[in-house]
């Protein structure tokens, strides 16, 4: 990333109000893919709807508990079921509303969202294969002929509380996944041992990595930055220690990175020592 751009990016991220209130955050991280945008939208709508239902229903209940108390001398009524056509009508209204909410308000958009979620092939620009291992991730760019593994770099001393914990404690790796911005990436997941699950919250996607099978999903990241996530299927003792770090770069920088990787892997097949790509100044995922 060139310097003015990097500074601009850093300033923008640092002054975003969300950053300062990170620690009691109560919503999804800033969405950066179409699926994540859709999911956040659906989530916000859902939360409003269910909070309204919850407070309306239990508001009625609390009113009743206040008004219909024995200590206020309220005598019990005798009704046990709707008694007239009109009452039947009003009794069925909440259920009709519920069906509309289920199948209309959420069911219809969900239908389109699922189709979009599963459409991994249309206009895909690139394929990345993710392989889960106990306990690291391997990334492969089959067409580009690049392959490397990505493992936790947080020192054991920090985990054992012998050293102060760094800013990206448990969310830092030696070789992050590097992706170009604005390109549709088709991801293929699989595993070498047990089931893992690849999740980057800012991308809004999570897919299991099942040994012996291939699974797919896609992401098209619309902003450069560093995005972090964790394995989210219990995979043994180091399950909590196999993070995911993705660097999303502008296309030119991505191409430069690709070229360097190819040259590096030609020179030294084991490229674990290859320098990690530059980290953009701001960290876009961990704060929301």
């Amino acid at each position: 990333m060139n310097t003015p751009k990097r500074i601009a990016f850093g300033v923008a991220a640092a002054t975003a109000p969300a950053v300062s209130m990170a620690d009691y955050s109560f919503n999804f991280p800033d969405p950066v893919t179409p699926i994540a945008h859709e999911t956040l939208h659906v989530h916000n709508l859902f939360m409003i709807v269910i909070l309204v239902i919850f407070f309306a229903v239990f508001g009625i209940m609390i009113y009743s508990m206040w008004a219909h108390r024995k200590s206020r001398g309220h005598a019990a009524a005798g009704f046990v079921a709707p008694r007239s056509g009109k009452q039947w009508f009003w009794v069925s209204v909440p259920f009709a509303a519920l069906l509309v909410i289920d199948y209309g308000v959420f069911g219809v958009p969900a239908y389109h969202a699922i189709l979009s979620y599963e459409d991994t092939r249309t206009e895909a620009d690139m394929v990345v294969k993710i392989t889960g291992n106990q306990w690291l991730w391997q990334y492969e760019y089959p067409k580009e002929g690049i392959q490397f593994s990505s493992r936790l770099t947080t020192p054991r001393a920090q985990i054992d509380n012998e050293e102060a914990k760094g800013e990206h404690y448990l969310l830092e790796v030696d070789n992050p996944l590097v992706l170009p911005v604005g390109k549709k990436i088709r991801f293929i997941t699989t595993s070498n041992d047990v089931i893992h699950s690849w999740w980057v919250p800012a991308f809004g996607v999570k897919r299991d990595a099942v040994p012996g099978f291939l699974r797919e999903f896609w992401a098209k990241v619309d902003r450069p930055g560093t995005y972090r996530g964790q394995c989210s299927e219990l995979c043994g003792k180091e399950h909590g220690f196999m993070p995911i770090v993705v660097h999303v770069l502008p296309e030119a920088e991505f191409n430069a990175w690709l070229a360097a990787q190819k040259a590096g892997s030609a020179a030294a097949p084991a490229d674990a020592s290859a320098p990690a790509p530059e980290t953009p100044a701001a960290d876009a995922q961990t704060k929301s």
Binding site: A22, D23, F26, N27, F28, P29, T39, V42, H43, F46, I53, F54, I60, M61, S64, R69, K70, S71, H74, A75, A76, A77, F79, V80, P94, F95, D102, Y103, F106, A110, Y111, A113, I114, E118, Q158, I159, D160, N161, E167, H168, L170, V194, I195, S197, W199, K206, D208, V210, P211, G212, F213, Q230, S232, E233, L234, H239, G240, F241, T286, S288
Partner: protein
């Protein structure tokens, strides 16, 4: 009913001491043992999760290593579902079904005894490797999560084999208990009590029992396949041998989802009993509640794969499981509607059982509503296996299995002990439990949305504040159970004398018996008009 009147005649011999409890065929004795066993398991599973919450109080590994942490979360899940929730429900069924149906005892008393006495060895099988592991013997207990996903569970040490046999035995026990419940309900009702006059409590249990008989053999088959994969060279769950790891998930959740309703329906049946007593009003929509319980039971066996939306199912399967899952909200909403309509224009008072019933309804309401969000297959990956999911299912399960059964226990305790409970302690228990529960799980919703996966022993710094609050809440919630146990103990020791009809508005046959109820509930079956 001439033999019913002479039911006591051949039962004069009662051995003393431990032998009485081992050989008893009496529904009250067995019910009590189920309840004591369940509450013992509640404490065991609770202590385990308090260990987990203590570890998660701060980032970093303070108290334990991940291997041990995984055993704790796994045992917590298995113990709470199979050791606490189901036995407590079965205990309530044993104690109360004959009394609410106007029967002298359960239909199959010896089977009843056997069903209970399988439980303690099963629980020992489950936890023995854990304690051996603490003393450095063996690899420790089952550690693949209570869902035991293959192939991780194929890798585990022999704690897994102990768990497989434990689950087999627990399954046998619950199938035996279910057979007994079904036979009792179908054959032992008082004359004139048709199925549609039967108490809702019995309806809830009838659906539960049928669900258990449907799904427990499937789980037994599944864990047997796992055992074969582990030791006998089969490849059911191994892709290299032509199997499929995801097959295990289908088998597990075919049991696991109905299991949620197995835990819920007994409580859904008991809550109207509490509500009618303290509103002094008939239950609203009896028929609607009965049909809803049956509808929930039927739907529960066709929605299982909504637990697997991230596993990479086909698009059509995702659509089907999403839409079928949404359908369950309708019968559940009917139940809520009827409960609230039962409260409406009643003459309410708020004794301890009523508080617990209302707390159960409100919190379970939130659990159900958040379930609506999780049903959306496109949004689900963002919640799935994150703490949001953990908070959701605790809002679904704790208010029903714990708060609901506490409501039922407090409600019927005067009938069991002959003494009224201490209301002040009961109310104290209620409010501490409410504060503790919400303080534990509201932060878990938040931290889940922020991106914290479940089942991790250590976490990034940004999740620290919520986890700290959650851990404080968990210890408050844990402490509330001590008040519960002490209050029950006190009621058995003494207290104000309970009338036959212990609560002013109580309805049902059980309140026609003296308190405490006689050893054989109804010598002569009452006739229902």
């Amino acid at each position: 009913m001439s033999d019913a009147t002479t039911i006591d005649a051949h039962d004069h011999y009662t051995p003393g001491g431990m032998l009485r409890w081992i050989s008893t065929t009496n529904h009250k004795d067995i019910g009590l043992m189920y309840l004591i066993f369940g509450i013992t398991m509640l404490v065991t599973g609770g202590l385990m999760i308090l260990g987990v919450r203590a570890e998660l109080f701060k980032p970093g590994l303070q108290l334990m290593q991940p291997e041990f942490f995984n055993q704790l979360i796994t045992l917590h899940g298995l113990i709470m579902v199979f050791g606490f929730a189901m036995p407590v429900a079965t205990g309530l069924a044993n104690y109360m079904l004959p009394m609410t149906l106007g029967a002298p005892d359960m239909a199959l008393p010896r089977l009843n005894n056997w069903g209970f006495w399988i439980l303690p060895p099963a629980a020992i099988l489950l936890v023995l490797p854990f304690f051996l592991g603490i003393f450095g013997i063996g690899p420790g207990a089952v550690d693949a999560g209570w869902t035991m996903y293959a192939p991780l569970s194929i890798q585990s040490g022999w704690g897994m084999d102990f768990a497989i046999f434990g689950i087999h035995m627990l399954g046998v026990s619950s199938i035996l208990g279910s057979i007994n419940v079904i036979v009792t309900i179908l054959n032992m009702r008082a004359p004139g009590m048709t199925l549609m006059k039967m108490p809702l409590f019995a309806h809830g249990f009838l659906v539960t029992a049928i669900l258990l008989i449907t799904v427990m053999p499937v789980l037994a088959g599944g864990v047997t396949m796992m055992l074969m994969d582990r030791h006998f060279g089969t490849h059911f769950f191994n892709a290299a041998g032509g199997g499929d790891p995801v097959l295990w998930q289908h088998i597990f959740w075919f049991m696991g989802h109905p299991e949620v309703y197995v835990l819920f329906l007994p409580i859904a049946g008991a809550i109207p009993h509490v509500l009618t007593a303290f509103t002094r009003k008939e239950t609203y929509g009896y028929r609607a509640q009965v049909y809803s319980m049956w509808a929930i039971g039927a739907l529960s066996v066709i929605v299982w794969a909504h637990h697997m939306f991230t596993s990479g199912m086909s698009t059509n399967a995702q659509l089907y499981f999403m839409y079928s899952t949404m359908l369950i909200s309708v019968p559940l909403a009917v139940l809520f509607f009827c409960w609230i309509a039962t409260l409406w224009r009643g003459s309410m008072s708020f004794e301890t059982p009523m508080l617990f019933a209302i707390g159960s309804i409100v919190l379970f309401g939130w659990g159900g509503l958040t379930g609506l969000v999780l049903a959306d297959a496109a949004a689900d990956p963002q919640y799935h296996n994150a703490y949001f999911l953990v908070a959701h299912f605790h809002y679904a399960l704790y208010p029903t299995t714990a708060l609901g059964s506490m409501a039922a226990i407090y409600f019927w305790l005067p009938k069991w002990t002959g003494h009224m409970i201490n209301e002040r302690l009961g109310k104290l228990h209620f409010w501490i439990a409410m504060i503790g529960f919400n303080l534990t799980f509201i932060p878990q919703f938040m931290v889940g949305l922020a991106g914290m996966p479940r089942r991790i022993p250590d976490y990034p710094l940004m999740f620290q504040e919520w986890n700290m609050l959650s851990s404080i809440g968990a210890f408050i919630l844990g402490a509330s159970h001590l008040i519960f146990i002490y209050n029950i103990y006190r009621a058995y020791q003494g207290g104000p004398k309970a009338e036959a009809k212990s609560w002013e508005g109580a309805q049902g046959l059980e309140w026609t018996l003296p308190s405490p109820a006689p050893y054989h509930s109804f010598g002569t079956q009452p006739v229902i008009k």
